[in-house]
């Protein structure tokens, strides 16, 4: 049962000791630093995951070859029968050359990744529609058809419509935004695709360059090596020779796609759906005959080009966390030193308190509770410093950039326009708890030493 002197002396020591204030500030700084770093780094990983996930289905079924794979209609039909699957949609992915020839874009040619999509299904799976500059606010699903006025124009009879990734024609400004040229929209561009024959060789007998009308752009915060250009699935299928046909020897070639993207219901077990899709595929090829295509069933974050970046970010965060844990250990050691000094300085007091009947446990409790109070006050102060820092990190960063000319965070390196500014509360709670535990551990040895001291020894201590 704690006695009143314990409480009384803790308060008195807290009020009187400059050392106590230094310890509180030391704990607070460590806590604030850890909260800021874990929140910002965690925020980057989360933002990147969200941005990526918003641009792919949960599961992607694809052929491990540019040739694509057949029977995708059966796969989609059966996949959509699964209770956990919301939507499945085919996507054709091809390399292509995009040519723009406009004032300001004179013979502008880029390698791009053509994505043949069904706008309706694709925008149910991804944030495609929200990413569009002109169409995002229009009602209904996005369209990849020629706008009114062009559709009936014989000049554009052969044209398809395309939406380009914003990074295709424009460069990113230092502040992360894009400066658009309105005259670029509804202007003709050329896409060149090299279709493959059954043998995997380029088919030189067909037309490879096709006219398109650039109708919109899509701005996402994910980085891909090849910027995307979206066209309608059926057009992409025709251009890349993935449509169904019968060759001169009378062989039937089934229609093909590069991939099928699948969105599962919220909370569904993705792994289970993946296995179900693999089973469906097995059944289809037993019935229809095995095309011997190497098939890949992957989740969105296993895709080439995404997994390494996420791993990198998580690795960076882990590395930083380890560094800061080391700093935390150093802080605990500092707290230990401070407490050792505090206790040593208080040894005569301990002798006096014990001589009037205080118990060893009581003396130990004074110093432990004192440390606990310092840990708690430090953690609260640290949170009070770290929280607003995280929330206002962009303003603080702008201010530093403006005042001292240091731009630490370059939005061109990572594709997010802002530094994440949400406190990671889960991490914050762990950090605060660690600060408390750390203070207690740091003061444990001095407290035990104080508790075990014989009164006379303490009084005579020099």
């Amino acid at each position: 049962m704690p006695r009143h002197y314990e409480f009384f002396l803790i308060c008195r020591y807290l009020r009187k000791k400059r050392l106590a204030i230094f310890s509180i500030v030391a704990v607070a700084l460590s806590v604030a630093m850890l909260i800021v770093v874990t929140s910002v780094m965690g925020g980057f990983v989360r933002q990147y995951r969200q941005a990526c996930h918003g641009f792919y289905g949960d599961i992607i079924v694809r052929a491990d070859s540019l040739m694509g794979f057949p029977y995708y209609e059966d796969l989609i039909a059966q996949a959509e029968q699964l209770p956990d699957v919301k939507v499945a949609t085919p996507v054709i992915k091809q390399f292509s050359l995009l040519r723009i020839d406009q004032p300001g874009f004179k013979l502008f040619v880029r390698v791009v990744s053509v994505l043949g999509i069904e706008p309706n299904g694709y925008s149910k799976i991804t944030n495609f529609k929200q990413s569009l500059w002109k169409q995002s606010l229009l009602p209904g699903p996005p369209t990849l058809d020629l706008p009114e006025g062009f559709a009936d124009d014989p000049k554009y009879r052969d044209s398809g419509a395309c939406i380009v990734g914003v990074e295709v024609p424009y460069n990113r400004q230092p502040d992360g935004s894009y400066k658009r040229y309105p005259q670029l929209y509804d202007s003709p561009v050329i896409l060149t695709i090299l279709p493959l024959k059954r043998t995997g060789m380029i088919d030189t007998d067909v037309r490879v360059s096709h006219p398109f009308l650039l109708i919109d752009d899509s701005e996402t915060s994910i980085f891909s090596e090849l910027p995307p250009v979206y066209i309608r699935f059926d057009i992409a299928q025709n251009m890349s020779r993935m449509y169904a046909y019968r060759d001169i020897d009378g062989n039937e070639e089934p229609a093909k796609t590069s991939q099928v993207q699948i969105r599962v219901r919220d909370g569904a077990d993705v792994e289970r759906v993946r296995r179900q899709l693999q089973d469906i595929w097995q059944k289809i090829i037993t019935v229809k005959g095995d095309p011997e295509t190497v098939m890949v069933f992957e989740t969105w974050d296993e895709q080439e080009g995404i997994a390494p970046l996420i791993n990198q970010l998580e690795h960076d965060r882990a590395l930083l966390t380890i560094l800061f844990v080391i700093m935390g250990v150093v802080s605990i050691f500092l707290i230990f030193c401070i407490f050792f000094v505090i206790v040593t300085e208080k040894i005569p007091d301990i002798g006096i308190i014990k001589s009037v009947g205080a118990s060893s446990a009581g003396v130990g409790r004074i110093f432990l509770a004192y440390a606990g109070a310092i840990g708690l006050l430090g953690a609260i102060l640290g949170l009070a410093m770290g929280w607003p820092f995280v929330v206002h990190i962009n303003a603080i960063h702008d201010w530093i950039a403006h005042t001292f000319g240091w731009r630490i965070y370059d939005p061109n390196v990572l594709v997010f326009p802002y530094i994440p500014n949400e406190v990671d509360w889960f991490a914050a709670v762990i950090i605060i708890a660690s600060a408390l535990v750390g203070s207690l551990i740091g003061s444990m040895i001095p407290a035990i030493r104080a508790a075990l001291m014989k009164p006379i020894k303490a009084l005579r201590y020099e």
């Binding site: 049962m1 006695r3 002197y5 005569p348 006096i352 001589s355 009037v356 009164p455 006379i456």
Partner: protein, 234 residues
């Protein structure tokens, strides 16, 4: 109730510093009746303070027995010894030993804060403060209650230490050279006070001193020499 408040049998205390063993007490016997006023004398370094510390349960000894009310104190638990120190024994140190951060009143109240839980202390605060203030008034410290030890004279600090020793109304008061660092007049007033406590409150007192005049104010004197007690007068 036993005849003797405190009794020591064959107390032996040695200090070991490296290879040297210093036998300070070599079989001390001592008996105290309730209401007695005893002076322990001896030259400097004869072990007077050491003996008093043992009687105050502030240190450990090598062999022998101390009885408090016929109870062998080494058979008591640590908690019971703490309780005894807090409730039954008041100790006045040779060098005052006040807590520098606390006021005179707070220093005086310290033993009551050890005796009470926060809950009961807050409940009895008014009463306890009043008692402490009465003791301080008795010792002429009423107007010094809010001062810190550093702001006091040596005599005032010594009286504060006495007030602290008395606040829980212990049956045994142990005073180590209570006048040792004070001038004649101040020391004399402290002695008057102890005599008064003994005469009017039946306070049992063991006082250590090396000064024969001071020792003469007690009822009985014990002389400590080469680690043993020699009764010198009554």
């Amino acid at each position: 109730m036993s005849e003797y408040i405190v009794r020591a049998e064959n107390l032996v205390k040695t200090y070991t510093t490296g290879p040297e063993v210093l036998e300070v007490l070599r079989g001390v016997r001592l008996k105290m009746r309730a209401g007695e006023f005893l002076a322990v004398t001896g030259v400097s370094g004869s072990g007077k303070s050491t003996l008093l510390h043992l009687l105050g349960l502030l240190d450990e000894w090598d062999s022998g027995t101390i009885y408090f009310d016929d109870q062998d104190v080494s058979a008591l638990s640590a908690a019971q010894r703490d309780q005894l120190r807090n409730q039954e024994i008041g100790f006045v140190f040779q060098f005052y030993h006040l807590l520098p951060e606390l006021t005179v009143l707070e220093n005086t109240l310290l033993p009551t804060m050890v005796a009470n839980s926060t809950f009961s202390w807050l409940g009895n605060r008014a009463k306890l403060r009043k008692q402490a203030m009465e003791i301080l008034a008795q010792l002429g410290l009423a107007d010094r209650a809010k001062h810190r030890p550093a702001q006091l004279s040596g005599g005032e600090q010594q009286r504060t230490a006495i007030a602290r020793a008395l606040v829980n109304k212990p049956r045994l008061l142990l005073a180590d050279e209570p006048t040792g660092n004070l001038d004649l007049g101040t020391g004399g007033r402290i002695l008057d006070l102890l005599e008064d406590l003994n005469a009017n409150n039946k306070q049992t007192i063991i006082m250590v001193t090396h000064d024969p005049d001071t020792a003469g104010r007690a009822h009985r004197q014990l002389h400590l020499d080469r680690g043993r007690i020699h009764t010198s007068s009554s």
